[in-house]
Symmetry: C2
Subunit: 362 residues, 2 copies
């Protein structure tokens, strides 16, 4: 998609052989490209959320293996690098999948070639992500087209939680891919953007949509249920960090509340789910580890002062006790369907297995 | 309840005849008492949320009539004052009730005596609020005592949304009255405090609970459903801005989402509802006006810098489109019961009428 009118991905290989990312800690205030030169850089970028979003942290981790291989391409060094990368974020399964895929492909290859091979593998994985998301857009846009037809010209009202746009992937996004496709196809769309406390990824979503010229309105996370009661939401689309084989979905904390509200108001609730997010080894939500993040994400807010300085302000008193789970589980019964690269699929074990044959990853 | 160990109300008449409030815009950072001398002061305090919470804005408005009567106690002047006060916050019905009650009592009295009479009426209304909330605490503590018995010594896990503590009333609070009562009765309680975006009234709740020495943990509004799924919540108790005669409840935006999650997880969901919050003229939620508040509450966050300065920081780009509804409607079917000053009452028209005989106010 576009930034200031120019086509941009969220991660790419620079001409100098180093990895480039869009530094998401600078958004929505400034668009800054940062460079990752080492494994440490990659680990830090994922852990501090300079990059985030399940598909993008997978891609970043794949590049992280390549950066590690520059220093030491031996099996032990790469296994250690893999362990460090995987430990950064426990919930998104794409991270695990991407690292294992690159390591698997390197096994038995000459150590001296591994850095180059891994860079190529990471680039392939990125291109695949883009292709997957483009297909999610194509399948998902049919959902929006049908709603538009029913709406008689009024914009389709989409509610989304967190950021599952191109910044969460390599390009296109997952939940937002159908929205971007719809805009290109001339289907009128308006997006309700959950601000998504505590990390306020809604600001990323709003920034993306603004860059693409798509109508949107930011709301507090508390507001979505009320909007659905008032008939102001036609469809909810979110991304996912992990889909269990029975169709439960781990996603950003608060997704479950929106799924409940959608169900209570007869609003369809879709999850855009690329197959690398499917975890065949997890039966249900209880099998998914839920990341607990730092209290500071709740007690402090990062923003811009009237002078344009960027600072953290404290919103709770020092010593306030906080719990900050990063994700929750939406049970399959609340999900209308999963929008995958192979079509719109019911969130059931049978349908997932029929469409993907348990081939995603173990 | 106590502030720094000293018994304090949220509003009172000073020895100098002016009205004193706890300035809630200064909390949780500083405890500041402010003075209201004029009708303008009272209108401003309610509109800017120096005072907030349905019962307390009712009390403040009652004092506002008294302050207006000091300048001009004539019928026309008082009606104009009433209109200004009522227009500040449309959703909480207590405001309307309190103003009409004071005006009704002044009708036919000598104009010269009205300022004094109104001050007395406002003080009476405050004392009534305290007595009502104390009784809500007595009835509500039975709910907590039963849960404690079931818990075998583990603390009762209460989740609350917004601030319905003593700061939202004259004293005791509504939703927190049972919690304060439980603490005094030796029933172990821990409170999950929703931060309550956009205005972060959870910081007020956390501050209150800290002053009273009650265990609590602040969470993002998104987290409550996850906690209920994990079995970490025994009961939800909220306050209300308006109860319709059929038992639907208007309360702080996001309450409905927690009610859905409670229902989905078999967690009892109680609303602490003093009778001045019952609107017999409203049948259902559709009859309750929902206040829309300024976009700035969403785009900016107020907090403290590392240097101890208090500032607003912008979290979204200039020009970001925002919708900021202040309240939502929780349907009666999701409410286990209302905790009123006359006991724990089913959220139905028959039960409400049986207990209160439609005598609250028209």
């Amino acid at each position: 998609v576009k930034v200031n009118g120019r086509h941009t991905r969220s991660i790419w290989l620079g001409d100098d052989g180093d990895v480039r990312i869009v530094d998401q800690l600078e958004l929505p205030f400034r668009f800054v490209v940062a460079t990752l030169r080492t494994l440490d850089d990659a680990v830090d970028a994922i852990a501090r959320m300079r990059v985030r979003g399940a598909p993008l942290i997978g891609a970043t981790a794949a590049y992280g293996i390549a950066l590690a291989a520059r220093t030491d391409g031996g099996d032990a060094a790469l296994e250690a690098a893999a362990a460090r990368l995987i430990a950064t974020r426990p919930t998104a399964v794409n991270l695990h999948w991407a690292v294992r895929r690159v390591l698997g492909a390197l096994r038995g290859t000459a150590v001296a070639q591994r850095a180059d091979t891994a860079l190529r593998l990471a680039a392939e994985l990125c291109d695949e992500d883009v292709a997957i998301n483009e297909r999610i857009g194509e399948h998902g846009v049919n959902v929006l087209r049908q709603l538009a037809a029913r709406n008689g010209g009024r914009p389709v009202q989409v509610l989304t939680h967190c950021n599952a746009g191109w910044l969460a992937t390599v390009d296109w996004g997952t939940a937002l891919a159908p929205v971007y496709r719809a805009a290109r196809d001339g289907i009128p769309v308006h997006v309700w953007v959950d601000e998504t406390r505590p990390r306020l990824q809604g600001a990323l979503t709003a920034w993306e949509l603004e860059q693409e010229g798509i109508a949107h309105t930011v709301i507090a996370d508390n507001a979505g249920g009320h909007l659905m009661q008032r008939g102001a939401v036609d469809v909810v689309i979110t991304g996912t960090d992990r889909v269990t084989r029975r169709g439960a979905v781990a996603n950003k904390i608060g997704t479950y509340l929106k799924a409940l509200a959608a169900h209570d108001n007869g609003v369809p609730f879709y999850v855009a789910a690329p197959s690398p997010s499917i975890d065949w080894s997890a039966a249900d939500g209880a099998d998914v580890p839920i990341e607990e993040r730092a209290a500071r994400e709740v007690t402090h807010v990062h923003g811009e002062t009237a002078d344009g300085a960027r600072i953290d302000v404290r919103i709770h008193r020092e010593g306030t006790n906080v719990l900050n789970p990063g994700f929750d589980i939406t049970p399959a019964r609340l999900i209308t369907a999963l929008i995958t690269e192979r079509g719109v699929v019911a969130a059931t074990e049978d349908e997932l297995a029929a469409r993907f044959g348990r081939t995603g990853h173990a």
